[in-house]
């Protein structure tokens, strides 16, 4: 462990010392030590499996069954390790508040937001329900949910992800805790929402002089917010210190690796851009039918994609960015010929795409898709060779027997896996390897276009860098074009030639990627780019 800054021992709000955690005999945390002071933000950064979330749960001792915890967690002088369950209940929510990653599921769906925020107040005693509701109201105002729009009797399902996260924050800060722990509080949110939530957290730390522990996988997020930084890997702290020092010196090799992977730009030198159009989308309209308001009234429609036109050239990598709900996925489904469109034309190599069974297999064969979730997109009962061979049902004279095995071996090797992996089951692979298999599955029938729908969003930064490199190299060897859909602007910037910006079903801007990022014209694009957290160079 390298400590860049050693003079921050005094006046600690929270002092964690030699914390060890194992779950069912498996070591999770290894002698973790750090301090946080009042009014200070400590960022804990690490990739999945680094133990960063478990560190947070260890402080509150909200751990899974079979956990054994040792070491010292001192909160304002009170030792929490060995404290009784009822003492811990008094601490949780009152002295320490906590915010979680997934705002969509963190709230009880059958209780109003007022009840849920007020519960923090009256569960700790001493106030009436009415007084607790009053505190709830004030707290919701403080996190930017004013009474006019967000009355106490609203339910979670009526709010967006960002609004729900504000409710979770309100629950955590209602009693003005001395320490706030935020576990990936913005990971599930759009960039502009992320910027707003981070601003709220920052303001609350200043107003209440709380200590804040901000846990994230994204170095750029903490770089702008945190005062101190802890870098974790495999349950160990590899480096800690002041944020400037850590990011400037990058003393530990892992810190450097993490830093480089975060801003990784794959080498795309040899790409052969053409101006032959491969995919043409012209005036595309896609309406969703809404539930009727009156029984026999007319149907109402929601226009998810509104008059969208663009072209994708052979050999090109085209980015599509926009926030959740803007119509990105609907557009993807229409291009893949999965949904009937209500207007416009989609053509690939001049042939029209439609969602009908009349769409020729030869046309379907030209495009393949890679989805976000490397865990959910495979049938766990099939071996890799069967999973990868799946698209061959689009091919009339598909190879069989040894020829098929040879094709699968070749495609697995081209994505950096071994031919022998074909006989394994999907659970034997890590997230990054699974995404390679998903790419192999897309490549196996040699499509012209691969649609990457948030294909690297669920991956750790170092794995993401490898997958981006792989994608960049495949363009040449396999004569591919990409439609790269992502909410992550920095990734889109690193891998695409041109970019489309989508908002509320419409394309608001399109152009060469660098030009759009350096000189965004549309105010929406400007706000998107401004909201992206930046790593210092």
């Amino acid at each position: 462990m390298i400590t860049t800054n050693s003079n921050h021992h005094t006046d600690a709000q929270l002092r964690v010392n030699g914390l060890n955690l194992s779950i069912h005999e498996t070591p999770i945390l290894n002698s973790v030590s750090f301090d946080v002071r009042a009014g200070e933000v400590l960022g804990i950064v690490g990739e999945s499996g680094s133990g960063k979330s478990m560190t947070a749960y260890s402080i509150l001792q909200l751990l899974p069954d079979g956990s054994s915890l040792s070491g010292s967690v001192e909160l304002e002088g009170q030792q929490l390790i060995g404290a009784s369950e009822s003492e811990l209940c008094d601490v949780r929510g009152d002295v320490v508040g906590m915010i979680f990653q997934e705002p969509m599921t963190a709230l009880n769906p059958v209780q109003t937001i007022g009840q849920q925020v007020a519960e923090t107040v009256y569960i700790h005693g001493g106030v009436s329900r009415r007084a607790a509701l009053k505190v709830a109201r004030e707290t919701l105002n403080r996190v930017g949910l004013p009474e006019a729009e967000f009355a106490l009797d609203r339910y979670p399902h009526e709010l967006s992800g960002g609004q729900r996260q504000r409710v979770v924050i309100a629950m955590a800060i209602a009693l003005k805790p001395r320490l706030l722990i935020a576990d990936e509080p913005t990971t599930a949110l759009d960039v502009t929402t992320q910027a707003q939530i981070l601003a709220v957290l920052k303001r609350l730390v200043l107003e209440d002089r709380m200590a804040l522990i901000l846990i994230t996988h994204d170095l750029a997020v903490v770089a702008n917010v945190a005062d101190h930084l802890v870098i974790m890997r495999h349950g160990n702290i590899v480096e800690q210190g002041g944020v400037q020092e850590v990011l400037a010196t990058k003393a530990h090799p892992y810190t450097r690796q993490l830093f480089e992977a975060s801003g990784h730009k794959p080498d795309r030198e040899g790409t052969s851009l053409t101006d032959k159009p491969l995919l043409k989308v012209d005036g595309l309209i896609r309406d969703y039918r809404l539930p009727r308001t009156r029984l026999f009234g007319p149907s109402r429609y929601f226009r998810a994609v509104d008059d969208v036109s663009f072209q994708l050239h052979r050999g090109e990598s085209l980015g599509l960015v926009g926030e959740s709900g803007c119509g990105k996925s609907t557009l993807t489904r229409a291009i893949l010929g999965l949904d009937t469109i209500q207007g416009g034309v989609i053509t690939i190599d001049g042939e029209t795409v439609n969602a009908h069974h009349t769409m020729a297999l030869s046309l379907r064969r030209k495009m393949q898709v890679v989805f976000q979730d490397p865990y959910g997109s495979f049938n766990p009962r099939h071996k890799v060779n069967r999973l990868v061979a799946e698209p061959f049902h689009l091919v009339k004279d598909a190879p069989t027997g040894n020829a098929l095995r040879a094709v699968i071996a070749e495609v697995l090797e081209s994505v950096g896996l071994a031919a022998s992996d074909a006989d394994k089951y999907i659970h034997e692979f890590s997230g990054g390897q699974r995404q390679r298999i998903a790419i192999a599955r897309a490549l196996v029938i040699k499509p012209a276009l691969i649609i990457l729908d948030e294909a690297v969003s669920a991956l750790d930064v170092s794995i993401r860098a490898q997958i981006l490199d792989l994608l960049a190299s495949l363009v040449d060897t396999h004569d591919l074009s990409y439609l790269f859909i992502s909410h992550d602007l920095s990734v889109v910037r690193s891998i695409t030639d041109r970019v489309l910006v989508m908002k509320a079903g419409k394309l608001v801007e399109q152009g060469p990627t660098e030009q759009v990022f350096l000189h965004p014209e549309h105010p929406y694009t400007q706000s998107l780019i401004a909201a992206v957290p930046q790593l210092p160079d």
Binding site: R92, F100, A106, P109
Partner: protein
């Protein structure tokens, strides 16, 4: 909420219309002439002709259907051919036994299943959980008529706490009636309580794994508080579904238990009517049971909406 209820109510009415047509068609039209069927093979032609007229079979099917449904709506279920009494009175008598019995059994089953399910879920993997799982497995496996006979043997014949069967009627007093229904209700409730406990347990376990339970714990709620305040209501949807199905079953499917305890219930009425080919009774009772099932489904739907605000607004 109101819109949701109206929508459900409309679907209730539509289900009833469809069911009544189906019942009418299968019973009155498909198997040939009901009158000759009811009178058997040796009936005289003029007797059959009389019955045909009495049943209104000389009219068109549509007119017969309309007059049948019209009668049902006004509470006129026709006259039993075998007993020569209005079907409505017979059914009302039987309902006075079957409905309380079903409610009694359901109440027992719920009263057992809730605490048992909660106990097993909160102490997952403990001895208590294992014994609940074992016992409920047994409760589902044991045929309820056998269990009923066992109850009679122990509580009626050996201990003499209850009578072995029969129903004195509510005129004998509320508690006398209740007492007579106790053993049958226990026999009916055992398998239902076993199923319901298991549903309660697994539903609660699923809910306890939800993120919002973790959020509640981070607010400072104890495990027990998180369970009562947040998990229980969310776990209710599957439990309500099963509860609705069980009530329908208890109302119509208690025939074996009614026979074991010599109870004059609806199940026995249908059974007797079928053996005596009294189609008028069969038709009306089946329609009544359909009505009960559809009504219960409606009530369960309304209960869903009370539990879950997302359903209230979906409409």
């Amino acid at each position: 909420m109101l819109r949701y209820i109206l929508k459900r109510a409309l679907s209730l009415v539509l289900s009833l219309v469809v069911a009544s047509i189906l019942i009418f068609v299968t019973i009155e039209i498909v198997p040939g002439d009901p009158a000759s069927y009811m009178l058997g093979l040796n009936a005289q032609p003029d007797t059959i002709e009389n019955l045909r007229r009495e049943l209104g079979l000389d009219k068109t099917p549509v007119a017969r259907y309309l007059s049948w449904v019209g009668g049902l709506v006004q509470g006129d279920f026709g006259t039993s051919y075998t007993y020569r009494t209005p079907v409505a009175d017979m059914v009302a008598d039987r309902l006075m036994v079957s409905l309380p019995l079903a409610l009694y059994a359901l109440l027992l089953s719920t009263a057992i299943a809730f605490p048992v399910g909660v106990l097993a879920a909160t102490r997952r993997g403990s001895v208590a959980d294992w014994s609940v799982m074992g016992t409920t497995q047994l409760g589902i496996a044991i045929p309820n008529f056998w269990f009923a006979l066992l109850l009679v043997l122990v509580f009626a014949i050996n201990l003499r706490w209850f009578s072995a069967g029969g129903f004195p009627g509510w005129e004998a007093g509320f508690f006398a009636g209740l007492k007579a229904l106790t053993l049958p209700a226990v026999a009916l409730a055992l398998p239902q309580a076993s199923i319901l406990s298991r549903v309660m347990r697994s539903s609660l376990l699923d809910t306890l794994d939800e993120d919002y339970i973790r959020t509640a714990r981070a607010k400072g709620l104890s495990r027990r508080q998180a369970l009562w305040r947040h998990a229980l209501r969310n776990a209710m949807i599957p439990v309500l579904t099963i509860l609705g199905l069980q009530f329908s079953f208890l109302l119509a499917g208690a025939i074996i238990i009614e026979n074991v305890f010599f109870l004059p219930g609806l199940g026995r009425l249908v059974f007797q009517a079928i053996t005596q080919r009294d189609l008028i009774v069969v038709e009306s009772v089946v329609m009544l049971l359909v009505f009960a099932v559809v009504l219960i489904t409606f009530l369960v739907d309304v209960a869903y909406a009370l539990v879950d605000p997302r359903l209230r607004q979906q409409a």
